[in-house]
Amino acid sequence: MFEIIKNHIGKICIASFLIFIGVIGRLVLIDLLPSSPSLYITLNGITQPVLMMDMFFLIATISIISGMLLKSYYIFIIPISIMFITDLIIGNSYILLFTWSGFAMIGLISYVLKIKNKFTMQKIPLIFGASISSVLLYDLWTNFGCWLGWYPPTLSGLTVCFTLAIPFMLWHLLSTTAAITFIVIPLIYLKEQRLINIDHVVNPLEKHISIAMITVIMFLSIFLFII
């Protein structure tokens, strides 16, 4: 046991640091978000501010970094630990199954990029593309969960649900793109200068267990509605 901890002490420290930053950020930094700009969008007869702000980008960036720097178990452990601790304080509802698995999904996409050795300065458009796709997937998944629980089970209900989600989606895309530019890209540069090390060795068992756990939570999220 001591040997295992000794071999993983670096990764445990990074994971603990990321969890600490995520928890503090989600609880404290929300009050420092800027005011929503006076721009309004009208779609489907509903007028809303163009951007509605939350701390999604912080957890998403941490999920991307955990997939990039650490072994596969951490893509599951880190975002879910942050969400678990902060949801105990803030509170949450059934939607947590969708949000927790959504963040783990973002970490998984980042992990796949890592094992295919795509975190290089030559692959920046691919990194942005994969990150933006993971944000969109997260929003599609979590809003699907909102529709299941909170809106009429009709096409009209689905349309209203996603219309109301647009300001959040736009903020998620904008803020996460900025966070990748200022945090993830510099990390990749440091890696190419050999100042940080990204371990590309993949344990197949770890990889399959992590993917399976994320998949189980996603199925559980929907299954709870069916029963």
């Binding site: 978000l33 800027p34 005011s35 929503s36 006076s38 721009l39 309004y40 969008i41 009208t42 779609l43 509903i46 007028t47 809303q48 501010p49 163009v50 951007l51 509605m52 702000m53 939350d54 030559q122 920046i124 458009p125 942005f128 909170w150 209203v160 109301l164």
Partner: protein, 151 residues
């Protein structure tokens, strides 16, 4: 020399791959502004004073009914005007990032009791957007209900 050309080509390719989606976004945004989907002002009812019926349902069949006159009415402004006209207090918190007030108390009935919160209905339809963003028309009926959350 060949290596330098290859690096330059790769760099240019990356720049183009990032710029193209940005350009698409800008073009879509401009078109949305042109058709009026994106504006700098909330859609407001430009009319004379709007007469609205306001019902406040505290639960247990305890309902207060008010007739409220206000210009450029939103659900929130009607509640605010009613609190002034009929002398009852409201507790609210304004969220900058959502540009909306959150109502947590009306006439000393404060949220949190038995997992109940203040939620509004406009003409019997559950309010899905913030009270400040929902315009109200002449003869509309607003109901604030103290109940367990629907959302």
């Amino acid at each position: 020399m060949l290596f330098r050309i290859s690096v330059k080509k790769s760099f240019l390719k990356n720049i183009i791959l990032v710029l193209i989606p940005l350009l698409v976004l800008i073009i879509v945004g401009i078109n949305l502004v042109n058709i009026g989907a994106i504006t700098t002002e909330l859609v407001e009812v430009k009319s004379d004073e709007t007469l609205t019926t306001l019902l406040i349902d505290y639960g247990n069949n305890n309902i207060d009914t008010y007739q409220v006159k206000v210009q450029n009415a939103t659900v929130f402004s009607v509640l605010l005007q009613a609190s002034i006209d009929y002398d009852f207090n409201i507790g609210s918190k304004y969220y900058d990032q959502y540009q909306c007030h959150y109502i947590y108390s009306i006439n000393n009935t404060t949220e949190g009791e038995n997992n109940k919160f203040w939620q509004y209905y406009l003409n019997d339809d559950y309010g899905i957007i913030g009270a400040d963003l929902q315009p109200v028309h002449h003869n509309d009926c607003i109901e604030w209900k103290f109940q367990e959350p629907k959302i």
